[in-house]
């Protein structure tokens, strides 16, 4: 194939307008020159009429040619030889354009034009267009494989997604391919990598599918690594996500992020960290719930048999506050390296407040905390339930006394150990409790509330004022239920 010059222009570029009469004249003389417009047919025809151009012009439908050669600016003049690029000029550089035309075998008369003038941004550099092109490229090379949901021109996407059963009851961000591809910038993992098999129906969560749900939840790219780690953790068998979803108990997965990347991702570890107002906390927590719903297939009141649920089942996520913490980072306590960022999942109920505004020493504070811990699920139900305690002003008392996690847990274990006779069925008038047939022979023996000190989670988070802690009770735990799972969060840049 012979050499040819391809000129890429757009209708609203003044530099293109300056150059076009010369290109038009050369094309009329039979030069091997193609003029390709990035603008639509209507705008291009209007320009041709205004400039009284007569040469043929090609419309770069879907910007396929522009995406292929990917110029930064127009006019872009490409010297092609059998489709292969041999040279290019972007913008107006009179002598270099004339040289390029000569190499293509024709003379281009550029007299009267300025020697140099920068061009205009190629339409492929328009952020919205670039996003569409990136999505198209991702579809073409197999990074995106999801089925397309095509909405009607008059369908409201928010209502359409809700009607299709794909939301948690609140509006979701419509997961366009453009938004999903942009979110995937938050991970180095290939979109088709499998993150986990999601209960209850065993849906395959690829990075792409997780990203689709994370877009819907409102995530930014820097949130995605937290979501991926949380989905991995939830899909580990020992977390028992299937049972956690299907149970009549109100618990759901609670994500606690720990480590230096939490701040960079905008996670809140401070005031109102368990509440509203922080995008990262809410979107990451919500993403996991949408993954379970949409990829796993777990729907409230169908597969999810929770009698009450709790508000955290929309999404529950917060970060550990390392500043002022009496303890080493949760990530380290969970066996990860210092400086590593992790998410830890617990199967948690809604949190409840425990107030102690009087205690100034760790012994007194732990005595108050222990009263609340004893009441998790039922004061006389033992061994089954774990708990998680959170609170910075209380944390200060422990820090100043030098109580590390082990010391604090040991004290809480001691203070939640009770006389067996007081824990039996019927004791205190309550029919719940230990089975007398098993435990009744030793009423003066002692028995702990928790199966071990490590079954009491301790995380430092919350606002700087308020002598409070929050206590989460857990769903059935340990061998018979859910074990907390920690996964590393991959840095996103």
């Amino acid at each position: 194939m012979a050499r040819e010059l391809v000129a890429i222009i757009k209708h609203d570029c003044p530099v293109c307008v300056e150059l076009l009469p010369a290109l038009d004249a050369a094309a009329q003389d039979g030069a091997p020159l193609r003029i390709v417009s990035q603008s639509g047919g209507g705008d291009t025809a209007a320009l041709w009429e205004r400039l009284r151009l007569v040469s043929p012009v090609e419309i770069d439908e879907e910007l396929a040619l522009s995406a292929l050669y990917d110029p930064d600016a127009v006019p872009a003049l490409l010297l092609l030889d059998g489709g292969e690029e041999r040279g290019r000029v972007e913008g107006l550089a009179r002598d270099r354009i004339a040289d390029l035309a000569a190499e293509a075998g024709f003379a281009l008369h550029l007299d009267g034009l300025p020697a140099h003038r920068p061009g205009c941004a190629s339409r492929t550099r328009d952020p919205l267009v670039a996003a569409t092109l990136a999505a198209r490229a991702a579809r073409a090379d197999g990074r995106l494989r999801s089925r397309t949901l095509r909405l009607g021109a008059h369908e409201d996407p928010f209502e359409a997604l809700h009607e299709r059963g794909l939301t948690d009851g609140l509006p979701v961000v419509p997961p366009t391919p453009e938004r999903v591809v942009a979110l995937l910038e938050g991970t180095r993992r290939h979109p088709q990598d499998v993150v986990g098999i999601v209960p209850p129906y065993g849906g395959t969560a690829t990075v792409e599918k997780v990203a689709v749900n994370a877009v819907m939840a409102g995530c930014l790219p820097e949130h995605l690594p937290f979501v991926l780690a949380a989905v991995e953790a939830a899909c580990e068998e020992r977390f028992t996500m299937h049972g956690l979803l299907a149970t009549t108990h109100p618990a759901g997965p609670l994500i606690v992020a720990s480590g230096p990347l939490t701040e960079r991702a905008g996670l809140n570890a401070r005031g109102n960290c368990l509440g509203q107002g922080n995008r990262a906390n809410l979107a990451i927590g919500r993403s996991l719930q949408l993954v379970v719903r949409n990829i796993g297939g777990g729907r409230p009141q169908i597969e999810d048999r929770s009698a009450h649920g709790n508000p955290g089942k929309l999404g529950a996520c917060f970060a550990e506050l390392q500043e002022g913490s009496p303890w080493e980072p949760l990530s380290v306590d969970r066996g990860f390296g210092a400086g590593e960022t992790t998410v830890t999942l617990w199967a948690a109920e809604a949190p409840r407040l425990i107030v102690d505004q009087i205690a100034r020493d760790p012994e007194g504070l732990c005595a108050s905390l222990a009263l609340a811990l004893q009441s998790v699920a039922h004061p006389k139900q033992l061994f089954i339930w774990d708990a998680l305690v959170v609170g910075p002003e209380h944390g200060r008392i422990l820090r100043e006394a030098g109580w590390d996690r082990a010391r604090t847990r040991a004290e809480l274990m001691r203070l939640t150990t009770s006389r067996i006779g007081d824990m039996l069925r019927g004791a205190g008038g309550s029919p719940e409790g230990l089975d007398p047939a098993v435990f009744g022979g030793n009423p003066d023996g002692m028995i702990p509330k928790f199966a071990g000190p490590d079954r009491i989670g301790l995380v430092h988070a919350g606002g700087s004022a308020g002598l409070f802690s929050m206590v989460y009770g857990m769903w059935a735990s340990g061998e018979i239920g859910s074990t907390p799972v920690t996964r590393s969060v991959e840095p996103w840049m």
């Binding site: 397309t148 021109a153 997961p175």
Partner: protein, 97 residues
């Protein structure tokens, strides 16, 4: 590039699983001598319900096999499901609570 004119294109957030057709098992005729599994999912007092059911089934001449899940929090293991399917004609599961 004007997607709005054709309606929005979104990506399916589901796992896109297809549910296959599975034929129903043939109805059992209810004749005495059938072997019926009673599965305890390990919830409190499930045994009370199953004990009574066992008594009633025995009285009608059925053979009862008592089985149990290791824990109520997880699906019955595949081996247990297979064993029940191989040994028994029908299953009654005592759900919570």
């Amino acid at each position: 590039m004007d997607v709005a004119a054709n309606g929005l294109e979104l990506l399916d957030p589901t796992a896109e699983r297809e549910s296959g057709d599975r034929p129903l098992a043939a109805p059992i005729d209810g004749a005495a001598g059938l072997r019926i599994a009673l599965l305890d999912i390990r919830k409190p007092r499930g045994d009370v319900f199953l004990d009574e059911l066992e008594r009633l089934l025995n009285a009608r001449g059925y053979v009862v096999e008592r089985t149990a899940k290791p824990t109520f929090t997880r699906p019955a293991p595949a081996d247990l499901r297979r064993e029940i399917a191989e040994r028994c004609d029908a299953l009654v599961e005592a759900l919570a609570d």
